[in-house]
């Protein structure tokens, strides 16, 4: 009998059965992995409204949008002048590196610099683009207030305590930081003179 075994036919059946078994096994993994992805209620994109006029000049507030912290700062004229003069020291001066750091309304060099619709109010995602800590707000220039936690030529901005990333007052990342990108911007618009709708 054995001499009559059709080996090529048998091998074909082995491969076919084994291959289909593997496909079925792979398919069975889909619902398991799928169940681990964000659930529908987590996904339901919530929007958040916030009245920016409640932020005192020079101050920062942190609000929550979709479970993520968001920075809103009110920058004085003096602070806005400190956005100039250190372009050489920034990784991505004009926020062009990736999509998440720019927005449609960034259509003028001025807006690329202030990274905001109304230059006074900066609205950005508060997660350090390195590994997601919330950077500390250190708005004044120099080391007077911050000691050597900031570089000697500090222009004011954010310092991430986790691995020492620095951002300027437009949340643009400063050279030498482990963070690769500027803080992300999220979609938002002004629905009245002072109220923003985030999301």
């Amino acid at each position: 009998m054995t001499e009559q075994t059709d080996h090529s036919r048998r091998n074909f059946l082995y491969v076919a059965a084994g291959g289909l078994g593997a496909v079925a096994g792979g398919a069975a993994a889909i619902p398991f992995l799928g169940s681990m992805l964000p659930a529908a209620d987590t996904l339901a994109a919530a929007t958040t409204e916030f009245d920016v006029s409640t932020v005192v000049e020079g101050q920062l507030v942190v609000i929550v949008w979709q479970g993520k912290p968001v920075f809103i700062t009110n920058r004085s004229d003096e602070m806005l002048t400190r956005l100039d003069g250190h372009d050489d020291n920034l990784k991505d001066v004009n926020s062009e590196a990736i999509e998440a750091v720019q927005a449609e309304w960034m259509d003028t060099p001025e807006k690329r610099k202030t990274r905001s619709i109304n230059p006074r109010y900066l609205v950005v995602v508060a997660s350090c683009t390195h590994l997601g800590c919330i950077p500390l707000y250190k708005p004044s220039a120099g080391r007077a207030e911050w000691g050597d936690s900031v570089p000697s030529d500090w222009v004011g901005g954010w310092h991430c305590p986790c691995h020492g990333s620095f951002y300027d007052l437009s949340a643009r990342v400063i050279n030498g930081s482990p963070a690769p990108h500027n803080l992300h911007v999220m979609p938002y618009k002004f629905i009245s003179d002072s109220v923003v709708l985030i999301g």
């Binding site: 987590t42 979709q66 590994l131 919330i134 305590p161 986790c162 482990p178």
Partner: protein, 407 residues
């Protein structure tokens, strides 16, 4: 005792249906172990003891622990409050929790010594490569289990540690976003994350049990290495003693000593000055505020330093992955025929320096970075890899000492 038990009728009945006698003989009473094993050989048995203790204390903690980030009236969270309740209200709850939390640190301490033993005496070499490789898998699963467990108390360190590590996986090119979402069940660490981490924290130690069984099975196939790293005739009574009672008694003695140290820490110094349980973890998780200084628990800090040593994020992540992955190929990098560092003068220096190097890496990762520490960390990272690469060339230049004939 074992002898007389094996003579009973009941045992004979069981034996006919399970082959128990043959197993006991081949694995214990007639399993040979080298006569010259020193005290470095007790850490495997100690590690198994800790694993069992972690599982037992964990199962009892799980009877009271509640994995939910929902806010409570007190302004904390269900998970944080349930751990505090274990500490204050549950009978012996404090003992269970401290035994478990300190146990995680002791487990790593013991396993690191156990690995160091293997490196020093060449236990990773032919024919024990697979035992070593399974050991590395065990290490990775332990790290996973500890990472998942650390989120459960839902304190500040839990939250921000998990945020940093999940973002780390999230930064992997192409698949990163997907992996991040699979881990977090959302876009940031939150309630879904806590639930799945609890589920996985329960699962991983059970996986460990299975892999440890494979580790031991492979060991019993090729037999133990020994401090001289030489091949022994396993049937020559000049070389070997029977595992039971000789090694079992020695292991039991070592386990007793270890338990005294372990329980001393549990009773008198469970936080170990913030090394075993970080102080900030008694502050409930706050997703709007990062603690001033975050560092992982000590047993993960060497890898954290490697991550931080590179300015480009992806390179840091790749280096950290490589530092663990290189352990898998370690047995194949080192082609020297001589196993034990006792007879390899150059390797001996290199491997001792490597142990010091890992401690330096650990120190750097635990402390807030300064300019100097950053450079120290980078040099230590360099040596970490240089050690392994150097092994490729070592056999060409190293003059090994003559090996003894027997033990």
């Amino acid at each position: 005792m074992l002898e007389s038990m094996m003579k009973t009728k009941l045992f004979a009945w069981v034996d006919r249906r399970t082959g128990a006698e043959a197993i006991i003989k081949s694995q214990l009473t007639e399993y040979p172990a080298p006569k010259n094993l020193n005290w470095m050989w007790v850490f495997g048995a100690i590690a198994m003891t800790v694993l069992v203790l972690q599982i037992v204390t964990g199962i009892f903690l799980a009877m009271y622990y509640k994995p939910s980030a929902m806010e409570t009236l007190g302004g904390f969270s269900v998970a944080f409050d349930s751990v505090e309740r274990i500490m204050r209200d549950v009978n012996f709850g404090w003992l269970l929790r401290y035994t478990h939390a300190v146990g995680a640190s002791m487990f790593f301490l013991v396993v690191y010594i156990h690995m160091g033993r293997g490196m020093y005496y060449g236990s990773y070499k032919e024919p024990r490569e697979l035992i070593w490789i399974m050991g590395v898998v065990i290490l990775l699963i332990m790290q996973g289990a500890a990472f998942f467990g650390y989120l459960l108390p839902w304190g500040q360190m839990s939250f921000w540690g998990a945020t940093v590590i999940t973002n780390l996986f999230g930064a992997i090119p192409v698949l990163g976003d997907l992996i991040g979402q699979l881990l977090m069940g959302g876009f940031s660490v939150g309630d879904p994350t806590l639930n799945r981490f609890f589920s996985l924290h329960y699962l991983f130690p059970l996986l460990l049990v299975a892999i440890v069984a494979g580790h031991i099975h492979a060991l019993h196939t090729v037999h133990s290495n020994n401090p001289d790293g030489i091949d022994l005739d396993q049937s020559d009574p000049n070389n070997v003693v029977m595992f039971h009672p000789y090694v079992t008694m020695k292991d039991a003695f070592a386990v007793s000593l270890f338990m005294m140290l372990y329980m001393y820490i549990v009773f008198f110094n469970p936080q170990m000055g913030g090394y075993f349980i970080e102080v900030d973890n008694y502050v409930p998780a706050n997703n709007l505020q990062t603690p001033a200084h975050i560092a992982p628990v000590w047993y993960l800090t060497p890898w954290y330093t490697i991550l931080r040593s590179f300015e480009v994020k992806l390179v840091g992540i790749a280096a950290m992955g490589a530092s663990l992955a290189i352990l898998f190929v370690f047995p194949f990098l080192d082609r020297s025929k001589v196993r034990s560092a006792r007879y390899r003068p150059m390797y001996r220096g290199m491997v001792i320096l490597f142990f010091i190097d890992v401690i330096v890496l650990g120190y750097c990762g635990h402390t807030a970075t300064t300019e100097t520490l950053k450079v120290v960390g980078q040099i230590a990272t360099f040596y970490y890899f240089a050690f392994f690469i150097g092994l490729l060339f070592l056999p060409k230049i190293e003059k090994t000492k003559p090996l003894p004939e027997g033990v």
